[in-house]
Amino acid sequence: MTTDRAAIVVKGLRIVVEGSGLDIVNDVSFSIAPGEVLGLVGESGSGKTTVGLALLGHSRRGAQIKSGSVRIGDVEVLELEEHDRQRLRGRLISYVPQDPASALNPALRIGTQLREVLEAHNFGKSAAERRARVAEMMREVALPDEAAFLRKYPHELSGGQQQRIGLAIAFACRPRVIVLDEPTTGLDVTTQAHVLDTVRNLATAHGVAALYVSHDLAVVGTLATRVAVMYAGRIIELGPSANLFQASSHPYTQRLIVAIPHLTGGRELVGIPGHAPSPGRRPSGCAFEPRCTYAIAQCREAVPALRPIADLHDVRCIRAEEVRGHGPTRSEEIPRGGIESVQSVLTLRSVHAGYRGRTVLHDITLDIAPQECLALVGESGSGKTTLARSIAGLHSDRWGEIAYKGTALANVARARPREIRRSIQYVFQNPYGSLNPRRTIRQIISQPLEVFGHVRQDQVDRRVAEMLERVSLTASYANRFPDQLSGGERQRVAIARALICEPSVLICDEVTSALDVSVQAAIVELLHSLQRDLGLAMLFVTHNLPLVRSIAQRVAVMSHGRIVELGGVAQILESPKDEYTSRLLSDTPSLELALETAVS
C-alpha cells in the first residue's frame, strides 16, 4: 500500500494524560486505503479507543493529543480549529460508537435523526433530495425504508436495528473514513453476523476506509483485510490478517491467539499471566517484557522499533524472527472421558418459569452429574440466565421440580435449608456489579462464613487467604476494595466467595463475558482446574460457543425458553441436529474460518 493513495494516514500519534504528560498512546502510525478495513485489536486499556477517537481529532476528558498527524486527503485533522473539525465529522470522517442505544437520542424519531445529519452538513439541495437519501441509506443498511418505520423511536428497535441506524448515520454523508468502535459488542452472534456483513458491503461498495476497533480477534479476522495489534499504547504488530494470524511474530499476538477459544478441537485455554501496565507504570523497555516468555536482558533496554519482518508485515519485537519460527504453542486437546451414569446431583423435571406474566421457560428437563460441566448456550433472551437463577433460588416465579440430590428445592433461596444454600453457589456475569463496592475483599469473601458459621471465628482470616490463593490472588488483596481491582481480579474474588462455601454445584452465569480474552482464558483455566480438583458439578451459562469447547463435557442449546438440543460437546459442535444450533454455529465468527477464507 502506498501512502499517496491511502484515504487516511496517521503518523507518530502521541496522546498523553493531561497534566502529568504520561503516555496513553505513543508512536502510532498506519494508513488505510479506500475500501479497506483495518482492524485495531487490543485488550482494555491498550489505547485502541483513544486512537479511534483521535482520528476524529477528539480526545476524551483528561487525555490530550500531544503530537502526530492525522491526514485525510489534503486535510490535516489535528491542525484544524475545533469548529472546523466539527464540520468535518460526519462529512469526511464519521464514528460508530459501541453502544447504539445510548448514541441515539431516545426522544427523537429515527427518521428525524437521519435527516438531522444531512441537514447539519447541508447534504442534498432540497428536502425531497434528503428524503430520498434517507430512504437510500435505509436500504443500504438493510432496513425497511417506509415512512412508518422512520417514524419509530429508537427504543422500538432491536439492538441490531439500532446499530444499523448508527451505521446509516455514519455513512449518511458518504464520508471517506469511518471509525467503528466495537459496534457489535453486546449483540447476538446472528445479529453480529448481519451487522458485520453490512459494514463490509458498505465499505467496499463506497470505497470507504474503515478502522474497526475491537477486542475480538475472531471478529476482526473475519472482517478486516489488515490488522494492527495494540499493547500498552503502542502498535506491536501490523500486517495482513492471514499473515498476522498464521505467522504471528510478536509473543503477545501469539498469546492472544492461544487465549481465544476455538470451535474445532477443545483446547485448554492459556491465559497470559500478569496484566497490561497502565500509563505511568510502563517499563522503559518493551512493555510486554515482564509477561513475555521470550524476554532477554536486551528487551529491557529500549522500546523496540516497529520493523518489517515480511512484506507489509511489521512487528515491534527484537526477537521476532525466533518468535515467528516458533509459532504459538497450542496446548493439547482436552481428553474427554465418557460420563459414567451416576446419580445426578441436580435434576430438573419439566421446569417452567414466568417473567411479568409471560412464560419464559418451557418444560426444561435436565440432569447434571457430579463432577460434570454442562454448558447452557443460547442467545440473549433465550432464558438461559432465568434457568440458572431459578436453580440458585433467585427467580421465584417458577414451577416444575428442581431437585438437589433427590431433595426438591424451594423457589426462593431463603426458604431452602442452609445445607443446600451452601452447596449450590452462583457466580454472576458482571464482576462490577456482584461485589459490594463499600466492603473490603475480606468482608466480601468471608460473608458466607458469617451466614453458615461452618468455620471458627479465628480461622476466618486464614480461610480467606486460602481462598484468595486458590483463585491465584494473594492474601494482600484482602484489605482492598473492589474498585482497586481489575475486572478479572474481581471475578476471581467472586469465585473465591463461592468456593469458601465448599459447594458441590457451581453455577457460572456468563462469567467471562465482561472480560478481555486473555483474562477470559485465565478464568476458564481456573474454573477448569477447580472443577477437576474439587470435583464440582458446574453449570456454565454462556453465549460463546467456542468457549464451550474448552470447558464443558455436555451442551444444552436453548432457544426461546426451550432446550432445542442436548448432547456431548463434540457431537453438538460438529454435527448439530437442530437447525437453530447450526445457524448459531455458522454465525459464530471463528479464527480458523477467517484464516481459511483469507487463504483462499
Binding site: 444454600r421 451466614v451 466467595r497
Partner: protein, 229 residues
C-alpha cells in the same frame, strides 16, 4: 445602657446575652428532630425499596399522605393540640421530616437493590435486615448526607417559625424566633433585637446548605463505584 453592647429590649433584658443563648434551643431541637426524621425515613425508605411488593406501595402512600400537608401546618396542629414542649416539637418536626427522607432513600436504594451483590447475599440466605444495613445502606450514603443537611436547614426554619408564632419549648426563655416576635414592634427604636436573631437564622440556614453542598462534592468519589457498568 452601659455594659449592654446591643442594648436591651422592652422589658430590659440584654439583647446580646439573649441572642447568644437563644441559639442553643433552636440548634439542639433542630438537630434532634432531624436525626429522628432521618432514622425513621431511612428505615421506611429502605424497607419500601427492598420489599418491591405491596408493602412498598402501602408505606409510600402513607408517606405521600403526610407529605400532602405543609410541614409547618402539621407541626402547628400537633403543638396546638398537645401543647408546646420540647418533646412535641421534636416529634412534630421529626415525623414531618420522615416522608421526605423516605422518598430520597427509596429512590437512591432502588437501583442498588437490583445490583448483583444483593442477589449474591440473598442466594446464601443473609438475613433481610443485614442486607438492608450492610449491603444497601452504605451504598446510598452520599445522597443521604446531602439530604440530611437539607432537612436540617428546613428543621431550623420550621422551629424558628414556630417560635415566632409563639410556640416555643420554654415560653419566656431566650429563643431566636421568639426574640424576633417580641422585638419587631420596636424595630425602629431598637433594631438589634430583630437584626441579630434574623441574621443568625439566615447565616445558620445558609451555612448548613453550604455544608451540604460541600458534602455532596466531597462524597462524589466515596461511592467506590468506579468502573461499575
Amino acid at each position: 445602657m452601659p455594659g449592654a453592647l446591643f442594648g436591651t429590649d422592652h422589658i430590659g433584658q440584654d439583647v446580646w446575652s439573649r441572642f447568644l443563648s437563644g441559639g442553643f434551643t433552636i440548634l439542639s431541637l433542630a438537630a434532634i428532630a432531624t436525626a429522628l426524621g432521618l432514622i425513621l425515613g431511612i428505615a421506611v425508605g429502605l424497607v419500601a425499596a427492598y420489599s418491591r411488593n405491596f408493602l412498598d406501595d402501602v408505606l409510600m402512600r402513607i408517606m405521600d399522605v403526610i407529605l400532602a400537608f405543609p410541614q409547618i401546618m402539621l407541626a402547628l396542629v400537633a403543638i396546638a393540640t398537645v401543647g408546646p414542649n420540647p418533646l412535641t416539637i421534636i416529634l412534630a418536626v421529626g415525623l414531618t421530616t420522615m416522608p421526605r427522607v423516605a422518598r430520597v432513600t427509596r429512590g437512591a436504594s432502588q437501583p442498588v437493590v437490583e445490583r448483583d451483590f444483593v442477589a449474591a447475599a440473598e442466594a446464601i440466605g443473609v438475613p433481610r435486615y443485614r442486607i438492608l444495613l450492610s449491603e444497601i445502606f452504605p451504598n446510598i450514603l452520599s445522597p443521604l448526607l446531602v439530604e440530611a443537611s437539607l432537612r436540617l436547614t428546613y428543621a431550623i426554619g420550621v422551629i424558628a417559625a414556630l417560635a415566632f408564632l409563639g410556640f416555643t419549648a420554654h415560653p419566656g426563655a431566650a429563643d431566636w424566633g421568639l426574640m424576633i416576635q417580641e422585638n419587631y414592634i420596636a424595630l425602629t427604636v431598637q433594631p438589634w433585637g430583630v437584626i441579630l436573631p434574623v441574621a443568625a437564622i439566615a447565616l445558620l440556614t445558609i451555612s448548613t446548605g453550604l455544608i451540604g453542598d460541600g458534602i455532596a462534592r466531597a462524597s462524589a468519589g466515596i461511592d467506590r463505584t468506579r468502573g461499575a457498568g
